[in-house]
């Protein structure tokens, strides 16, 4: 990720002479603006390229955090059973019943906006999907002969989980995580659009859309390009997810639950 090599301009550089330059034209200060400039004369293409870094940083970190938490909880629920299973799954139900945006509003409203809190919120609202899928798959894998064999050899539970269960769950996890990245990027952009996400000083697609929204009646390009970038990214990731799902199909037991993601 080296946006400074790709971007033609500094994304924060304000050139008031070159404000609102339409795309594919030369700005008042003589520079060429491929995708135009915004209300402060900042180059939109450069901001898009830097915004991609913000989106992917938050998307991947949130998925990593949610995936780790959800997977560990799902594994322990399935392997332990009993009260632990019950408690974890009810917690997951609770999370699914609580609309994401309301969770975000609670946490951001109190902790304040910022990249770290944003990652936390997105992860907090996604772990249940991983927990559910991992639990469903583990319940089936737990009964397989090779797990029974490992258990009869007296291997410690942790080793069984890591060596024999986890590798067999990973296919479904990959699928969930792929859709998760797309969802996290959309969530980040949505919150930034509302002004509850990334601070204005950092270029982000959601923030750019929010600014562009104000000028939509005359300067369409401010809002058009960041939205298109977001749409294409999310679409691409979802297509990869669909392809992964189809590729892993013979191994997926929780296919029905994945289909609803």
């Amino acid at each position: 990720m080296a946006p400074h090599r790709l971007a033609p301009f500094d994304p924060g550089e304000q050139r008031l002479l070159a404000r609102f330059t339409p795309p594919m034209t030369r700005a008042a200060d003589g520079t060429f603006a491929i995708l135009g400039t915004d209300q402060l004369g900042r180059d939109i293409l450069s901001r898009l390229i830097y915004g991609a870094r913000t989106s992917s940083l938050i998307g991947f970190s949130a998925v990593l955090l949610a995936g780790l938490t959800g997977t560990s909880l799902g594994l322990s629920a399935a392997m332990r059973g009993g009260i632990a299973d019950h408690a974890i799954m009810r917690l997951a139900d609770m999370q699914l019943a609580f609309p994401f945006i309301m969770l975000a509003i609670t946490v951001i409203g109190i902790l304040g906006p910022g990249i770290r809190n944003l990652i936390l919120v997105v992860a907090l609202s996604n772990w249940a999907a991983y927990a559910r899928v991992v639990r469903a798959e583990t319940l089936a894998i737990r009964e397989r002969p090779y797990v029974e064999a490992a258990r009869s050899l007296g291997l410690p539970a942790l080793r069984i989980v890591v060596r024999h269960v986890l590798p067999n769950v990973s296919a479904s996890l990959m699928v969930v995580a792929t859709f998760g990245v797309a969802g996290a990027i959309l969530a980040e952009a949505g919150l930034s659009f509302l002004g509850l996400g990334v601070p204005v000083s950092i270029p982000s697609w959601g923030g750019m859309l929010a600014e562009g929204r104000q000028y939509v009646d005359t300067r369409y390009w401010l809002a058009l390009f960041p939205g298109a970038a977001l749409f294409i990214t999310v679409m691409a990731i979802n297509l990869v997810g669909d392809a992964l799902r189809d590729a892993f199909d013979p191994y997926l037991h929780a296919r029905r639950s994945l289909e609803q993601l």
């Binding site: 994401f100 945006i101 509003i105 609670t106 409203g109 659009f193 859309l209 939509v216 749409f231």
Partner: protein
């Protein structure tokens, strides 16, 4: 049936209790709420007065009990910004959001069901591919961008609808489409896959054999049996719909509960945030209980356990 609904209601209350606990803990874990209410310019003396007036000097479990007691009586405190009780303000905004969400929902169902059913019936046809491409596009489309594009085309270019704000039904059209597209996309995909599961069933062959028309076979026999997954997905969609409403309201400057919530967060208006979050959570949970009742009507085979 009654027992079942009571059980569901009890579970819902438990979830709601969990949510109040989360909200309460988050508020208290993030620092001194009295300091938050006061802002940086308050004096030490004012701070002490406010702290005891709001009850923040008492032990935490007692505070939580008090919070629950007040919340149960509809008292979430006064909005810091508007200096009015928070809950009535939230409730006064609720009808506008309901109007938006139900318009979007009806729109989504009207499009998604036929699209899903036809795609499943004519599987691998041009209609199926096109319809599912449309659904995928709708699913990947960021709500706020779709809203902006619709404004660009229908409000700025054609001037058919107001750019934002406005009164009456005209002002509802673009927001409802914006919000409805996402729910439509997912519902269409699930309708299709659910119908594909049901279509090869024996009872459909029986229905055809006894001479039922193809319409009756599809609508009365297939759709009814495929309806449960569709209803489930739609129930999960309710929460997303309200979330999407927050963003849609921001795009169109539509005066609903979402804008109230965002303003409350930006103004650090904690009582208002609490009131909005708990009202919305309670609404979503209640709607889901209602949906469970609908299941039983849709499909008597649902076990009432």
């Amino acid at each position: 049936m009654i027992v079942y609904l009571c059980k569901r209601l009890a579970w819902t209350m438990l979830v709601l209790l969990g949510i109040t606990a989360v909200v309460f803990v988050v508020i208290h874990a993030s620092g001194d709420p009295a300091a938050l209410y006061m802002g940086p310019e308050g004096t030490k003396q004012d701070y002490e007065i406010l702290r005891s007036a709001l009850g923040f000097d008492r032990p935490l479990p007692e505070q939580y009990g008090l919070f629950l007691w007040r919340a149960a009586h509809g008292d979430f405190g006064r909005s810091l910004r508007h200096q009015q009780p928070a809950l009535p303000m939230v409730l006064s905004r609720l009808p506008a959001t309901f109007r938006l969400a139900s318009a979007a929902m009806i729109l989504a169902l009207l499009l998604a069901l036929p699209l899903g059913i036809l795609s499943a019936l004519y599987r691998r046809s041009l209609l199926d591919t096109g319809g599912m491409m449309l659904a995928l596009t709708g699913q990947c489309m960021p709500t706020f961008w779709l809203g902006i594009l619709l404004i660009l085309v229908f409000a700025v270019q054609f001037r058919w609808f107001p750019v934002y704000g406005g009164e009456g039904w005209g002002a509802l059209v673009l927001p409802a489409i914006t919000l409805g597209v996402w729910a439509m996309a997912r519902t269409a995909r699930i309708t299709r896959s659910s119908m594909l599961d049901v279509l090869p069933s024996e009872y459909l062959r029986t229905a055809r054999a006894k001479g039922a028309s193809e319409w009756a076979v599809v609508l009365r026999h297939a759709l009814r049996n495929g309806a449960i997954p569709i209803a489930t997905a739609f129930g999960l969609e309710l929460g997303n719909l309200l979330g999407g409403a927050v963003i849609t309201e921001a795009v169109f400057a539509y005066p609903g509960i979402g804008r109230l919530a965002v303003e409350a967060v930006i103004n650090k208006d904690v009582p208002m945030v609490q009131a909005v979050v708990l009202t919305v959570a309670a609404t979503v949970l209640l709607l889901n209980v209602l949906l469970d009742a609908v299941y039983v009507v849709l499909d008597p085979r649902v076990r009432l356990a």
